[in-house]
């Protein structure tokens, strides 16, 4: 049976409607009209049949849905910002001032976009680490894990490209620091930096490129990877954690039970975003001046600070090689190692708990947390 386009169901519906009342109401007629054309009864049936496992670690499964919800907010607010934002060095900052001061609810839209961007990356991190520690990446979900890892990189790139768009002092110099690091990557660094900047220095070309990345390239990639990610979750279902006794796991309907709980979390997070936007509207900052000296305490967005601080702490030379290049190589290899965990964690493949993988996960969490804390506690390091 095809999952949708089930004509029998439609016919049955029609018959039921005609049997129950000879003259269907206007609303019902319209719904029937649409149901015939979209064949959504099959989707509704599928949603009714879809179940998710409920177990002592179920709490962590809600973070995936929360990511999706926050992404939808980003798309909506981003589209609204496009109405007034002008991507040129002469007008970018001015257009942000205009959005924040003159456009009706512009301050709210921009603040929601900026706050949600940060919360989203935080939630993606939580989702990733919970998936890692619960070993939900194990086959057959390895591609779901890999697409999720790429989604993290894509959203970090969203953050990096979006940070420069207001063209303020802080974002300008943080981008300079970020692209300088990019230039340190062995072999391809210089070419990559030049491509990203559209030249040797941050200029109008950089702003145009970052804008292009932010509203065209990255959304396409995000939709592609998100589509695959969600499709795989749909096909394979949500993973059951290793070591939980079968009697402690029960299947609950996705709709409405799981969805209602998702909606509770979404409502609370939306309320939190509202409070943040009213009491701490995202600042506009001072317009970037490329000729001004770099201000003190410049740093990238919080989710890059662990890498930034590591690069600051590393000695300039290790075993005769440039320290920064070695660290970048370690980060790249570490990222690859992390992404390929479904393939090397053989114990998880056999549904056995692997304490080594858990220890690696905890170590990475501690490392990122400590490095991020150091950045904020010792800004003049």
């Amino acid at each position: 049976m095809k999952p949708w386009g089930n004509q029998n169901l439609l016919r049955n519906n029609k018959q039921e409607t005609s049997e129950l009342s000879l003259r269907p109401k206007k609303g019902q007629k319209f719904l029937l009209y649409l149901a015939e054309r979209f064949s959504w009864q099959a989707i509704v049936d599928l949603a009714k049949k879809k179940t998710v496992p409920e177990h002592p670690y179920s709490f962590w499964t809600y973070f995936g849905g929360l990511c999706l919800f926050l992404f939808v907010i980003q798309v909506i607010t981003g589209l609204l910002l496009l109405l007034y934002y002008v991507p040129s060095i002469d007008r970018a900052h001015e257009s942000i001032i205009y959005i924040m001061g003159q456009v009706k609810f512009g301050w709210l839209i921009r603040s929601v976009h900026s706050w949600t961007a940060n919360i989203l990356i935080g939630v993606i991190f939580v989702h990733m680490f919970s998936t890692f520690l619960l070993k939900a990446y194990r086959p057959p979900r390895e591609i779901t894990w890999i697409t999720g890892f790429f989604l993290l990189l894509i959203f970090m790139a969203f953050g990096f490209s979006g940070y420069l768009l207001p063209w303020n002092e802080l974002s300008f110099f943080a981008t300079r620091v970020g692209t300088d690091i990019l230039g340190q990557i062995p072999l391809i660094g210089r070419a990559l930096k030049s491509f990203v900047l559209g030249g040797q220095e941050i200029s109008g070309a950089t702003l145009s490129r970052f804008y292009w990345f932010h509203i065209a390239v990255l959304p396409c990639l995000a939709f592609l990877f998100l589509g695959i990610h969600l499709y795989l979750i749909q096909v394979q279902g949500i993973s059951r954690p290793i070591g939980v006794k079968p009697e402690k796991i029960r299947e609950i309907p996705f709709f409405p039970d799981f969805f209602l709980r998702d909606a509770v979390i979404w409502s609370l997070v939306l309320a939190l975003i509202g409070v943040l936007c009213v009491f701490f509207p995202w600042e506009i900052g001072k317009k970037a001046d490329p000729f001004a000296p770099t201000p003190l305490g410049i740093r990238p967005e919080w989710y890059f600070t662990f890498m930034f601080t590591t690069l600051k702490l590393v000695p300039s030379h290790i075993l005769g090689l440039e320290g920064e290049k070695i660290i970048l190589l370690i980060f790249a290899l570490g990222g690859l190692f992390w992404m390929l965990v479904p393939f090397w964690d053989r114990k998880a493949y056999r549904d056995q708990n692997n304490p080594v993988t858990t220890a690696i996960g905890v170590a990475v969490i501690l490392y990122i947390s400590i490095m991020t804390l150091i950045t904020y506690l010792f800004p003049r390091l």
Binding site: I97, M100, G101, W107, I252, P256, D257, L260, R261, A263, V264, S267, L268, L270, A271, G274, V275, V278, F279, F280, P281, I284
Partner: protein, 416 residues
């Protein structure tokens, strides 16, 4: 193996020979070598000379003291050309022997002036020195003797921040100044002035210090007739307004120094409308009668300034309060600056004594404040709206979350 060892040893030997050769090529300065090992009185000049600008240009001790600094034996080093410590009477000429010669100076710093000695001779210091007074300031008193640095270096005695202290070494010495009939509190007065505030607190190196008004090498205090010309170097606007005011002719006739009469000298305080009639620092009473019409007009003007100042302060306070609530208020800030600027212009116009012009500026400033008040009211309403909206939206979302949670719980209980 043995061959390799021989090659390595050979290379090390060559290295040491090269280093030794390099050191042998460096010019010796035996004066410094010995003086640095002597008691502090004799060692400190040698120590200071290490950072001296002349040392940087390759001069050694013999340039001023004579002798031969390359000879290691004392007798040979102190040969017939050795002059020892130059007498105070000789110092200006000694310095001028190079600094007044364009052919020498061009080799080291083509931009530096070569008329310092000529200017010095026109100064009070120089004229006294010509008469044989060696207590007056000579080159070394202001520039130092052995640790001389460019005036652009913060450690230099002639760097803007250090000039008051350099001049004060003599001019704050009451016993020394008594001999010349000069007061000894100029440095103290200057340090309490608005100029010192700008120089030391705001770190504004363009703010004036002693030499900016009195001159550098041709140091001479400005006379009554020239005080205004000194002040107008930096304050051209009040000076030109004053020139067209009725005060100009009256001051000239009475022989009163223009700016100094109201603002004083050395201890120049920040401009304030309290200098106006009935103000806390009323200076008009120096010449005007308390019952005169002009005194009364001045008093009215002061009250208007006070009222406008209070309005501006209130507006600024409100703007900051709104900004703290996260409302974008850059337009109001801009208008506030504009109103402040009109107010400053009105205050500056006091120098012209043109009541009509002052009134006009006050009205312009007040018109901007009115516009600002509308903006502020709107911003305050916006702030209230945001908070009300937040309370309503948050309440709605919490209620929604509660309803959803209750429904989810109900469903869970119903499930087997």
């Amino acid at each position: 193996m043995k061959r390799n060892l021989n090659q390595t040893l050979g290379l090390i030997l060559c290295f040491f020979i090269s280093i030794n050769w390099l050191f042998s090529q460096t010019k010796k300065n035996t004066c410094l070598d010995c003086h640095l090992q002597l008691e502090e009185k004799l060692a400190s000049p040698a120590q200071a000379f290490k950072i001296d600008i002349h040392a940087n240009y390759g001069f050694d001790c013999s340039a001023c003291h004579g002798g031969n600094s390359e000879k290691e034996e004392l007798e040979e080093a102190k040969d017939k050309s050795f002059k020892g410590i130059p007498s105070r009477q000789d110092i200006p000429k000694l310095c001028a022997s190079c600094h007044s010669d364009p052919n020498i100076m061009r080799r080291y710093n083509p931009n530096i002036r070569v008329d310092q000695f000529d200017l010095y001779l026109t100064s009070h210091h120089g004229r006294a020195w010509t008469k044989g007074d060696t207590k007056v300031a000579l080159c070394t008193d202001c520039h130092g003797a052995h640790g001389i640095q460019s005036a652009s270096m913060p450690q230099s005695l002639t760097f803007a921040w250090n000039i008051a202290a350099t001049c004060g070494r003599c001019h704050s010495d009451n016993n020394l100044m008594k001999n010349y009939g000069l007061p000894g509190q100029q440095e103290e007065d200057f340090r309490a002035s608005v100029h010192a505030q700008a120089l030391y607190e705001k770190k504004d190196l363009s703010a004036p210090t002693c030499n900016d008004c009195h001159g550098n090498h041709g140091a001479t205090p400005p006379e009554v007739a020239s005080v205004a010309n000194v002040c107008r170097q930096c304050h051209p606007s009040p000076a030109s307004l004053f020139s067209r005011s009725p005060h100009k002719a009256a001051f000239d006739e009475a022989g009163i120094a223009e700016c100094q009469a109201c603002h004083g000298h050395h201890r120049i305080e920040p401009p304030d409308y309290e200098l106006l009639p009935k103000g806390k620092k009323d200076v008009c009473l120096q010449c005007h009668n308390e019952n005169s019409r002009s005194y009364e007009e001045g008093s009215n003007l002061r009250e208007k300034f006070m009222a406008l100042d209070a309005q501006l302060e209130k507006v600024s306070f409100k703007i900051e309060k709104i900004a703290q609530q996260g409302i974008e208020i850059s337009e109001a800030r801009f208008l506030s600056q504009q109103a402040q600027s009109e107010f400053l212009e009105a205050r500056n116009l006091i120098h012209s004594l043109s009541l009509a012009e002052i009134e006009k500026k006050i009205k312009e400033s007040q018109a901007i404040i009115e516009k600002l008040s509308t903006l502020i009211t709107e911003a305050e309403r916006e702030a209230r709206l945001r908070k009300t909206g937040l309370i309503v939206a948050t309440l709605f979302l919490f209620l929604l979350a509660l309803a959803l949670w209750l429904k989810a719980r109900q469903l869970r209980r119903k499930r087997p």
